[in-house]
Amino acid sequence: MSEDLYQEIILDHYKNPRGKRVEIDSLAQSHQVNPTCGDEITVEIGQNSDGTLLVSYDGQGCSISQASASVMSELINGKTPEQAAPIQAAFMELMKSKGQLEPDEEVLEDAIAFAGVSKYPARIKCALISWMALSDAQIKASLTAKTTTRNE
């Protein structure tokens, strides 16, 4: 019925969000809304002394948007911008795939659970909103990847 959308991993992240409302020394934040449904998310970004990223988020929304934010924070926290970039690119690509892409678990880990979301055009924005906020916050904090190669 809805198993393709509501994967166990998604429900688990929805129930036990990781990285939500964590106190960090934030360098920038981005607030995004989904104007069609009113869901909101704020992503804050900071940097550890070793150059890796610190990510925290807060927001309200449906299971897909909340689980996606949780997975995003888990995947990106502690990665350098260069390590994060290919993950972000792979997630974008997966969301555009209309369910036609076999996601790479090596890169996307828990985020592969969102493959089914790409079959529901109305829900793609739900899954993407936290990732959009992340990219925006990175630009504001000048914490984007210095290299653009996909497999560094």
Binding site: M1, Y14, K15, C37, G38, D39, Q60, G61, S63, R123
Partner: protein
Amino acid sequence: MFDVNELRADFPILSRSVRGVPLVYLDSGATSQKPTQVLDAERHFYENSNAVVHRGAHALAEEATDAYERARQTIASFVGAHVDEVVFTKNATEGINLVAYAFSNATDKARQGLDVDQRFVIGPGDSIVVTEMEHHANLVPWQELCAKTGAHLRWFGITEEGRLNIEPGVIDSTTKFVSVVHQSNLLGTINPVREIMDMAHAVGALGMVDLCQSVPHMPVNVHELGADFASWSGHKMLGPTGIGILWGRAELLNVMPPFLTGGSMIEMVHMEQSTYAPAPQRFEAGVPMVAQAIGLARACEYLTDLGMENVFQHEQELTAYTLAELGKLPGVRVIGPLDTHDRGSAVSFVVDGIHPHDVGHLMDSMGVAVRVGHHCCWPTCRRFDVPATTRITTYIYNDKSDIDQAIAGIKSAQEFFGATVAVSA
């Protein structure tokens, strides 16, 4: 009373499947489905009489113009209006903007020292009054007008029950314009628009009503509402998309500055300046939506054949049933009036611990099409402290079995999420 099963045969889309199960369409508040009679009327026009209206003198142009103007007459009669007071627009949103821009344009012209009707000149010290339950279409244009002119926006709030809180003093001597929704598309509330329009007139203000959710669902006579303007869309009342109606008192329409300008709306054109045709042509610049007008007129005839009183009764029964069934579900809260008194068929609700998007998705997987989100009434959602709602809206082709399927969908969402997820904040 009409037979729902019989008339469903006029709506081919209702017999299709979605996601592998039969479709249950409960989103007519967003847009209604169209009977073959309406589609055939449009097709017949294109196949037999298609030509540009009000230009040209050949046989087809005459037939097309005649069909277009007969459509206007049918639509006018449907709401008890005079034919010259019915302006075709793209949709309700455009009709409301047309009036907002009359104020804006008159105010601009007055600043240039041009002669304009003072009822449409607005500025600092003046106020415009709306309500907290307006669709964005009847809120944002007035916010814009206020931003451009320095006028103040005020509004009537909403009670816990979902009724307007008509406090004294909101409409006062500073008020130049009042615009209110007849039936809320989110709460279902039917507002006492006559009373509010009388309040507006008592202080010398003009008044408008948004009839999007009332004209399709109940008998409406525009004159009995006591308003100066009214706007609604054709697509929510069995008609095509791309056509809406602005109704206005002729005396006002004929002194308002035009909204869109160009061909067809002029009287005389010189290189330096032009004069404009009387309403309704004054507001119908460019080649209009002829086939849609003909389709909408056919929709009015279809509804007249059913009887608008019957349509209203049918939906009252369904709404009572919907409210009763939702009332039996623990953890489900209706946002809006809980009985059918002064209430239409839009029923919004929230389910404890499950986001409306997820409720809607589970219902969709059972074939039930409902709307989720803020329904273009974001401030109304905020008033009730909910991010969004799930909304059931019915029409002539729905019956109790559709509501039963919706209830089953809600239960399955509760089982699915309740069993697996105790949502943390």
